[in-house]
C-alpha cells in the first residue's frame, strides 16, 4: 500500500524546526534578556488598522505603561497614544521596535519575552528530542540488527540488556540516569547530556523491533544466497539486513521523537533539564507550578500549545508512515 499524506506533517515539522533553528533571526530578543519594568506583561496585539480606520502596511503595537503600585501583582495600562510600528529586518532580527520592548506573547515573571524564549526553548526541546530519538534508533539499528543477524550469544546479550532497560517504567529510568549526573548543567553541555540520556535509556524498544525484522530478513533467499556467494557478515548486514529494517525504523523515529520531546519537557519542568537561564519548553512551563501564576497569566501556556501542535504533527506523520 502506498504511503499517503506524509508530506504535509513533514513539511510543517520542518517549518517548526527551521523556526527554532533560526531563533536568532526570528526571535526579537535574546532568551535571557530581562525587561525589568515589565514582569508578567500581557501579550501585545498586532494592529493593521489605525485609530481612524486606515490600513497600515507596517503592523504596529500599542506599548504597555506600568502602573506604579507598591503591592500586588504588576498592572499595565495600554498606551493608545503611542503606536509603535514594527521595523522588519533590523539588526539581524525579523522584527523589532527600536528602543522599546515588543512582547507579542507577553513576558514571564522576570520580564523575559515569551516569544523569544519559546523559539530558543524549542531549539533545545525539539532538537534534544529529535537527536535523542536518532541516537536511540541508531543504537537500536546497530544492536538490534546485529542481535537478529548474528544470533547466538550476541543476541542473548543484547536482548537481556534491552530487557533490563525495559524493566523500568521509562520515566523512572530517565530520572535514575539523571539522578546520577550533575544537578546544574547549562548550555551545550546540558543539550548533550539530554540527548545522551534520552538516547541511552530509550534504545530498548527499537532494538527489539529491529531485531525481529532482522531475524525474519536473515532467512530470506537473497540473504542466504549473498552469504553463499561469500558475502562477509558486515557486507550482508549493511547491504541486505539494514535496508529491510528502514521502514520500521522510520516509523519508530516518528513515534519516538515526540516521546523524547515530552521526556525532555518533563525533565525541564521538574528542574532537572538545562539550568536557568537556558530556555526550554519544560523549564518555561515550570513557571506555572506557582499557583498565582497559573491562575492569572494564561499566556504562559504558550509552550504547552506549541508542544501539543508538535506532538499532533508527529502523530500524524507516524500514522501516515505506518499506513
Amino acid at each position: 500500500m502506498p504511503r499517503r499524506g506524509w508530506r504535509w506533517p513533514l513539511a510543517a515539522l520542518i517549518a517548526f524546526h527551521v523556526l527554532v533553528l533560526g531563533a536568532g533571526f526570528f526571535a526579537p530578543y535574546a532568551p535571557a534578556r530581562q525587561f525589568r519594568r515589565f514582569p508578567f506583561a500581557p501579550p501585545m496585539r498586532l494592529h493593521w488598522w489605525g485609530p481612524r480606520g486606515h490600513f497600515h502596511w507596517r503592523p504596529f503595537v500599542y506599548p504597555w505603561r506600568p502602573l506604579a503600585e507598591r503591592y500586588g501583582p504588576p498592572r499595565y495600562r495600554l498606551d493608545a497614544s503611542h503606536p509603535l510600528p514594527l521595523h522588519f529586518f533590523r539588526h539581524g532580527h525579523l522584527f523589532a521596535v527600536p528602543g522599546r520592548g515588543v512582547f507579542l506573547l507577553g513576558t514571564d515573571a522576570l520580564g523575559r519575552d515569551e516569544l523569544s524564549r519559546l523559539l530558543y526553548g524549542g531549539r533545545l526541546s525539539l532538537l534534544a528530542g529529535l537527536l535523542g530519538a536518532g541516537l536511540a534508533l541508531s543504537l537500536g539499528l546497530v544492536l538490534g540488527g546485529a542481535a537478529g543477524f548474528m544470533g547466538g550469544w550476541t543476541d542473548a546479550l543484547v536482548m537481556r540488556g534491552a530487557e533490563l532497560f525495559l524493566a523500568l517504567p521509562w520515566i523512572y529510568l530517565l530520572f535514575a540516569a539523571r539522578a546520577f549526573l550533575p544537578l546544574s548543567v547549562s548550555g551545550a553541555a546540558a543539550f548533550l547530556m539530554l540527548v545522551a540520556i534520552l538516547g541511552l535509556t530509550g534504545w530498548g524498544r527499537p532494538a527489539r523491533l529491529i531485531r525481529g525484522v532482522a531475524l525474519a530478513a536473515r532467512e530470506r533467499d537473497y540473504v542466504r544466497s549473498a552469504r553463499g556467494f561469500g558475502g562477509s557478515r558486515w557486507y550482508v548486514l549493511r547491504r541486505h539486513i539494514w535496508p529491510e529494517t528502514y521502514s520500521v525504523a522510520l516509523t519508530q523515529a516518528a513515534l519516538l521523537a515526540p516521546q523524547f520531546i515530552l521526556a525532555e519537557v518533563a525533565l525541564g519542568f521538574l528542574g532537572l533539564g538545562a539550568a536557568p537561564p537556558t530556555a526550554s519548553w519544560g523549564a518555561m512551563l515550570a513557571g506555572l507550578l506557582k499557583l498565582y501564576v497559573l491562575e492569572s497569566y494564561a499566556w504562559l501556556f504558550a509552550p504547552a500549545v506549541a508542544l501539543v501542535v508538535v506532538v499532533l504533527l508527529y502523530d500524524w506523520l507516524a500514522t501516515s508512515l505506518a499506513a
Partner: protein, 335 residues
C-alpha cells in the same frame, strides 16, 4: 495446570533476576554520581568538617561500592532498604506509604481507563467506516497529542479558577476526624483530577489497540461463517470475537501499567499527590541515593509484577500457551 505453575515459577525467577540486575545497574550509576548529600552539608558553616566526615563515615558512604551493595542487600533483607539522609530515617517506612498512594492512584486510573476503552474500542471496531468510529479515532489522536504535563496544568488551572476540585493533596486538612463515609467521599474528590489526567493519557493507546485486536477478531473467517449461520450480532461480538481479542489485550494490560507508572510521576508532582513521584523528585534534588534506589527498584518491581500478572492471565485465557510449555515460554521471554 502444571504448565501454568511451572511457567509462573519461571517467570518469577526471571523477574527476580531482572530486579537484581536493575539494582546493580542503579548502584553503578550511583557510584558515578558527582556530589552528595554531605557535600551540601559541608556548606553549612555551623557544622565542622569533622562532624560531616563522621556522619558520612557512620552511614558507610566511604566504603567501596561492593561493600555498600552488600550492606544494602542486608538492609533490604532486614526490611529497611537503606537509610535516607534527608529524612534521617530508614527508607522502607518512607517508601511504603508512598507506594500505597501511587497504587491507589494508578490502579483506579487503570480500572477506569479499561472500563472506558473497552466499550469504545469494541464499538469503533464493530462500526468500522462509520462516522462514529472515525470520531472515536480522531478523538484518540487529539487526546494522544495532549501531554500529561499540559493536561495536568490545565486541570489545575480549572480547579483554581472554579474551586470545584481541590488543588492538591490527598485529604482535606482535618478530615481524620470525619466519619468514614465523608472521608471516602473526600478521598474520591481528591482523586478526580489526577485520575482524569492519567486516564486521558492512557485512553488513546488503549482504544487504538482494543480496536485493532477486535477488528482482527471480527475479520476472521469463522466470524463470517457464524454470521452466515444467522447468529446474532450481539452474541457474535461478545461470545465469539471478544474471547479471541482478549489475548492481545491482556498483553497490553501489562504494558499499559508501565506507561501508567511513568505518567503518574509528573502528574503526582503537579497535582501534589503524595506518591512515589514527588519522593523520587525530592530525593534526586537532595542527592539522597538510597531513596532513589528504592523508588526506582519499586517502580521496576511494580512493572515486572504487572507484566507477570498479565502473562498469567494470558496463560489462563489461552490454554495453548500453557500446554506449549517451555518452548513457547522461552520464546516469549526473549522476543
Amino acid at each position: 495446570m502444571p504448565g501454568i505453575v511451572s511457567s509462573a515459577l519461571r517467570r518469577l525467577l526471571h523477574g527476580a533476576l531482572v530486579l537484581a540486575a536493575v539494582s546493580v545497574l542503579v548502584f553503578l550509576l550511583m557510584q558515578l554520581a558527582p556530589g552528595s548529600y554531605y557535600a551540601r552539608m559541608r556548606l553549612n558553616p555551623q557544622l565542622s568538617p569533622r562532624t560531616v566526615a563522621a556522619l558520612e563515615a557512620a552511614q558507610g558512604m566511604r566504603a567501596p561500592l561492593p561493600v555498600r551493595y552488600w550492606r544494602w542487600l542486608r538492609s533490604v533483607a532486614a526490611g529497611r532498604w537503606g537509610y535516607s539522609f534527608a529524612y534521617n530515617a530508614p527508607v522502607w517506612p518512607l517508601v511504603r506509604t508512598r507506594v500505597a498512594h501511587t497504587l491507589w492512584l494508578t490502579l483506579t486510573a487503570l480500572l477506569l481507563a479499561w472500563m472506558v476503552a473497552l466499550p469504545l474500542g469494541m464499538w469503533s471496531a464493530w462500526r468500522r467506516g462509520h462516522w462514529d468510529s472515525r470520531a472515536i479515532a480522531g478523538g484518540a489522536s487529539l487526546l494522544l497529542a495532549l501531554p500529561d504535563v499540559v493536561l495536568a496544568l490545565a486541570l489545575l488551572a480549572l480547579a483554581l479558577r472554579t474551586g470545584w476540585f481541590p488543588v492538591g493533596g490527598m485529604h482535606t486538612l482535618g478530615s481524620r476526624h470525619w466519619d468514614r463515609w465523608a472521608q471516602l467521599r473526600d478521598f474520591a474528590w481528591h482523586l478526580c483530577l489526577p485520575v482524569t489526567v492519567l486516564v486521558a493519557g492512557m485512553l488513546p493507546t488503549l482504544v487504538r489497540h482494543v480496536r485493532a485486536a477486535m477488528a482482527e477478531a471480527l475479520d476472521a473467517p469463522y466470524i463470517a461463517a457464524a454470521r452466515g449461520h444467522g447468529i446474532g450480532e450481539w452474541r457474535l461480538v461478545f461470545g465469539q470475537a471478544l474471547p479471541v481479542a482478549a489475548n492481545p489485550m491482556l498483553s497490553l494490560l501489562g504494558l499499559s501499567f508501565g506507561a501508567l507508572l511513568s505518567g503518574s510521576l509528573v502528574v503526582e508532582v503537579i497535582l501534589g499527590w503524595p506518591g512515589l513521584g514527588p519522593l523520587l523528585w525530592r530525593a534526586i534534588l537532595d542527592r539522597d541515593p538510597y531513596v532513589v534506589v528504592a523508588a526506582v527498584m519499586l517502580s521496576a518491581a511494580l512493572l515486572v509484577g504487572g507484566n507477570m500478572l498479565a502473562d498469567l492471565g494470558l496463560a489462563w485465557t489461552d490454554p495453548r500457551l500453557a500446554t506449549r510449555g517451555a518452548a513457547a515460554a522461552s520464546r516469549s521471554e526473549a522476543p
